[in-house]
């Protein structure tokens, strides 16, 4: 009898493959639903214009558009991550395939990292398309410098933290999907897509700063106004943004691990 030894991948190679498989799955699903994604991009653009119309009293006020456009980018990233993350995990729970993915020897961190990578792309593509379309179409007076990339990256991280938190809650709270729409409306309203959060009454402004992406939009507006990262640091928006991103990521990750462990224990990885 001849024994054939199959070469086993190393730990890092295996981790990379597990990550890539999970991310690839999300991206393939996105590609399959591209017609929905494209329609949603167009509708989001139209909705933003209509909101601007209302704020402008029947016409577009370009300085307001310049102040709120970063929030459109943030909202689309966050809303897509939350809706698609929650919808995706609901589909896997209902279809019974979430249990299968957890039969893998890969650690949950790899699976969720792959899922988040796909959500990041899924949110960033429509957000970037909309920001570019409005940016090129209306040419707001922005000072675009490399330092704007810092709050931009932190906005994406914050949006993903929010998406992960909603995904985690989906494992625990009955029909969270419908509530995600309300949370998304809160991100839209208190995140700066109607007016910059600094114009809210003081008490509301403090609450709004806890809303995902709100601080990121504030810091991004500061850099796009040409005042640089140092201004965002000294007015407190950048340090608080860093705290918010880290805090939300820790909360989301902790909630995800907790709900996953509980779902495993109580048989909640498949429909009950």
């Amino acid at each position: 009898m001849t024994a054939i030894t199959i070469p086993r991948p190393g730990a890092s190679e295996f981790a990379l493959r597990a990550f890539a498989n999970e991310a690839g799955k999300g991206l393939r699903l996105m590609w399959r639903r591209r017609a929905i994604t494209i329609t949603a991009v167009l509708l989001n653009g139209f909705m933003y214009l209509m909101i601007q119309f209302f704020i402008g009293g029947g016409h577009l006020v370009l300085p307001v558009l310049a102040l709120t456009l970063p929030a459109l980018f943030a909202y689309v990233s966050a809303a897509t991550a939350a809706l698609q993350g929650s919808g995706g995990i609901t589909e896997e729970v209902n279809g019974g395939t979430l249990e299968q993915s957890h039969l893998s020897p890969a650690r949950p961190v790899l699976l969720i990292a792959g899922r988040l990578a796909a959500l990041a792309v899924e949110g960033l593509v429509p957000a970037a398309v909309l920001a570019l379309a409005f940016g090129l179409g209306y040419r707001p007076h922005w000072v675009i410098r490399p330092d704007a990339l810092v709050p931009l990256a932190l906005i994406v991280a914050d949006a993903l933290g929010y998406g992960l938190l909603m995904t985690a809650l989906t494992l625990r709270v009955a029909s969270i999907g419908a509530v995600v729409h309300v949370f998304n409306m809160a991100v839209m309203f208190f995140g700066g897509m109607f007016i910059p959060i600094t114009l809210f009454p003081h008490g509301v402004e403090i609450v709004a700063r806890f809303v995902p992406t709100a601080l990121g939009v504030e810091a991004l507006n500061t850099t796009l106004a040409g005042r640089g990262l140092s201004a965002a640091w000294s007015d407190g928006s950048l340090p608080w943004l860093l705290v918010h991103v880290a805090g939300l990521a820790a909360l989301a990750w902790g909630t995800y691990l907790y709900t996953l462990r509980r779902a495993r224990r109580e048989g909640g990885l498949s429909p009950r």
Binding site: F54, V61, Q84, A174, S175
Partner: protein, 273 residues
């Protein structure tokens, strides 16, 4: 007939049980919706103030009353359509959607009726509590009259039609939550456009009339704030247009649901396996 009524009763009961299981969510939604109505008022039409870097936060009784009026259909549409979408999607994904066809009821009635009563109750609770919370900050002036029930009834029919369109799309394309969310926002925006809050261009008003809640909200405005009757025939809030909107959305909804159903049954993709 008895089996028909039993099946219908069971679906309504199921819808109410779902609504009860989601009571915590309604509690979470209340403070947000109240704050939303209160804060939105001063923002509308304040573009130049915002551009100048300040905004006067004065709560106008008339403006907040108007916004609350536009908020009623938005809530009903949210409870009817959004929750129907997630429930239907869950049944598609779990494979239990096919059991709908064991019922003696028409499938569209099973889909829509199960949510309708629950949606009406949820909307009433939310509106009553929101009304109470908002009126703690600002005096609201509504002319309460039974005549308002006519546009409300037509709004409910329109909402059923709208939710059936969403249901048909769900059967066909499954995960349409991104579209669902944006559609809902547009329904809300154009419902507000029916009210005399800001001056909108003709094309904007014309476009608004196509959206499901606009004409019913205009009619509600006439009867509850404008001290007019509901029997005036023409114009955005005119009875003719409100009836046409309700009839058109119900007809299109039924058609969309049946079409989505037929395509998915032909393809064998009613459930997702």
């Amino acid at each position: 007939m008895t089996s028909f009524l039993t099946a219908l009763g069971n679906e309504i009961r199921k819808g109410l049980l779902f609504a009860w299981s989601e009571r915590l969510q309604i509690v979470m939604e209340l403070p947000f919706f109240t704050l939303f109505i209160l804060l939105l008022g001063p923002m509308l039409g304040a573009g130049h103030q915002i551009a100048a870097g300040h905004l006067t936060w004065t709560l106008s009784s008339r403006r907040i009353s108007l916004l609350l009026l536009a908020f009623l259909p938005a809530n009903f549409f949210y409870f009817q359509a959004v929750k129907l979408f997630w429930r239907l999607l869950g049944e598609v994904q779990a494979g239990t959607i096919e059991q709908v066809y064991l019922s003696p009821l028409p499938s569209w009635l099973v889909a829509a009726a199960g949510r309708l009563i629950a949606a009406i109750i949820e909307t009433l609770i939310l509106i009553a509590v929101s009304y109470g919370l908002v009126s703690a900050f600002v005096t609201l002036h509504f002319h309460w009259t039974a005549a308002a029930l006519l546009p409300i009834a037509l709004l409910v029919i329109t909402g059923v039609g709208y939710s059936l369109i969403i249901a048909g799309m769900t059967l066909l394309w499954k995960r349409i939550q991104l579209l669902q969310e944006t559609f809902l926002m547009l329904v809300m925006i154009f419902a507000v456009s029916a009210l005399p809050l800001i001056t909108v261009p003709g094309w904007f008003a014309g476009l608004g009339r196509i959206f499901p809640a606009t004409s019913a909200v205009a009619s509600l405005y006439g009867v509850m704030l404008g001290h007019r009757g509901v029997t005036a025939l023409w114009g955005t809030g005119g009875l003719v247009w409100v009836i046409i909107t309700a009839a058109a959305y119900l007809t299109i909804g039924l058609g969309a649901f049946r079409l989505g159903e037929r395509i998915t049954r032909t393809r064998g993709t009613l459930g997702a396996y």
